[in-house]
Symmetry: C2
Subunit: 367 residues, 2 copies
């Protein structure tokens, strides 16, 4: 059998519960190709290794990204993360914040391309706060630059200005190679989708955005089959609400991508359903649900595990090239929703309310 | 009569049409306090001076903010702007962009506090793409810092990194006095509204945001009657769609305010209705609709003048302290909508479609 090493990073809050479900689904999706004298043929074999990150790493080891964790992640074929953060660590200094662990992991793995689908599933269209006719059929992929820009730019910090006043500052910065590689990923993604790419920037104000627009425009000639457009970030924030169906693939920088991908995901009304993939030039990718650690419902078997399950599908597709197994998971999720099973966040009248574990069991039945 | 000097900056595209309507409404709203032997009592007198800005200034004078314009604006009691920009100047270099003229004007006037209401009018609730029960009653005021942050931070520009690669960069920077003065404005605004203030930042990643949060938290003790909360910008972008009614007043930095105020405005479904006010520590304020110059419908008598008319009301309230005249304008707009008059952008079945001029005439009838 093909064999892969998977690093599991449950993290904080509901992370443990949802990763546990996704791990089982992943195993089963890989295991089944046929049956030979009562024995399953393991077409894909996974070796899992679980290591700490975020708040739980802070509690156990004192840092948000232990060296052991980064090494394990780097040595594996793909990384599946639950969620990080919680009130407990909110007041921590920067280098002791759970979030810092995640940023260090992204940088350490070099996962510069973050793919965030925002898809309104027909079974869940009523969960959206948008009118049905606006939400129906929305299918957007946000390609967010993840290891550059203002998140990582230097200089940054605290200091004094010429008037002796306390200041805080950060640097938004992009180089041509950084822009080019994320733009190429986005053009390729658009090509596998509906062939439309919208690049979002603030080129009417920011030099970093002017360079961004210039490079995306230049690269467009290499992708004549892709319909490229440019939009200012403020307008994009509006258009996502006015008419989200105008978008196919969106490419943008780290901070605009943070904001717009979350906005896009909320259009679906079911962020408990949305996965993400973060891809490097080489080496393992990082796969995680877009939702947070939801400390208020952690440990209560209430979390929706489907975003993490669908992240496992992305792991198979983008991380390991195992398209068939990816599809098996996605079909199992659709089937489970069709049967009417819902966790609390997507529950509506006439459906069957289940907890995190039970939802996992139902998906397993459909794999 | 009380007398004020008003600088009119029609700008580009539909700017001219909508400012022309707003000027007439402003005049009439000021003029009428009673009638004495067939003569109107001019309670407020306006002296208008029209000067160029943006693309039209580029075409006529060669710069987006002529000195004469800034001087006229500074010497007046309030400035009313239409809109700036257009395809024609989109490829211009930075210092020759219409937008640069607007940024120079904001900096020149020192209008650091930008107030952007996003109100769903009951007459127009159907224009929203949100479900009626979500949109109904939304009434948010975004207080955006307008003369600092990444829009104006130095260093900025183009250059090379240590690997010799071309780069573009900008600096996000805030000082304590800058944060304090915008936060104070926001607390005061919240006090006159429903007493809730949400400060939006990215303090889990950016130092500039950490300082922002620290100062807003410190100042909160001066406003014990205000319920203060903090939210990350990505979450705010989601919550605005999930449940906009949770917000009363929002305060945030320049770039996040640019994005979130546009997002909030689109929740109303009628950005042709939304005004804004930009206030300085002393000196004239700048009042403008939040919509753009809409070059595609410019000169066709199709524009909705109500956002500019309502900006004139904000000019009276926040710029001149003329609350009564401000209310007169707002009531006239409500009355005109109640009679069923609509421009194309807010038209719906059963209402009366009118052009920009006619809409202006109808408002005048109701003043
Ligand atoms: C937790 C935080 C640092 C992170 C980010 O801003 O990138 C999160 O919001 C995300 O989008 O994955
Ligand atoms: C035109 C542009 C420079 C401006 C801004 O970004 O501030 C506009 O989007 C606004 O919000 O008034």
């Amino acid at each position: 059998p093909r064999s892969y090493r998977i690093t599991l990073l449950p993290g904080d809050g509901i992370g443990r519960e949802v990763v546990s479900v996704a791990k089982d689904v992943l195993s089963l999706a890989g295991s089944f190709e046929g049956v030979k004298s009562n024995e399953k043929i393991h077409s894909i074999e996974f070796r899992f290794r679980e290591v700490p990150i975020g708040g739980s790493a802070l509690d156990s080891v004192g840092v948000p990204l232990p060296e052991e964790t980064l090494t394990a992640a780097k040595e594996s074929d793909a990384v599946l993360l639950g969620a990080i953060g919680g009130y407990k660590w909110d007041a921590n200094e920067k280098h002791l914040k759970p979030e810092t662990g995640l940023l260090q992991l992204r940088a350490g793995l070099g996962v510069f391309a973050n793919l965030r689908p925002a898809t309104v599933l027909s079974q869940l269209v009523d969960s959206s706060t948008l009118k049905k006719e606006v939400a129906e059929g929305v299918d957007i992929m946000v390609v967010r630059e993840l290891t550059g820009g203002i998140y990582f730019g230097n200089p940054r910090g605290f200091g004094y200005n010429e008037r002796g006043e306390d200041i805080g500052f950060n640097t938004e910065i992009y180089s041509v190679p950084e822009i080019d590689r994320i733009a190429r990923v986005a053009f390729e993604v658009a090509r596998k989708r509906r062939g439309k790419l919208c690049s979002v920037d603030k080129a009417n104000v920011l030099e970093a955005s002017m360079l961004w627009r210039k490079r995306v425009t230049a690269l467009a000639s290499e992708f004549p089959d892709i319909e490229i457009s440019h939009m200012y970030v403020d307008n994009a924030a509006m258009q996502l609400i006015r008419n989200p169906k105008q978008f196919d693939t969106i490419v943008t920088n780290n901070i605009f991508g943070d904001i717009l991908s979350d906005e896009a995901s909320m259009l679906t009304g079911s962020i408990g359903m949305l996965p993400s993939a973060s891809i490097a030039e080489s080496g393992p990718g990082l796969f995680e649900p877009i939702h947070g650690s939801a400390p208020d419902i952690a440990g209560q078997d209430k979390a929706n595990p489907l975003a993490t399950v669908l992240s496992a599908a992305m792991l198979l597709r983008y991380g390991l090239g195992e398209e068939q197994a990816a599809k098996r998971i996605e079909a199992a999720v659709a089937n489970t929703l069709n049967k009417g099973f819902r966790t609390g966040d997507i529950f509506s009248d006439g459906t069957t309310l289940v907890g995190c574990k039970r939802m996992g069991e139902e998906v397993l039945k459909s794999v």
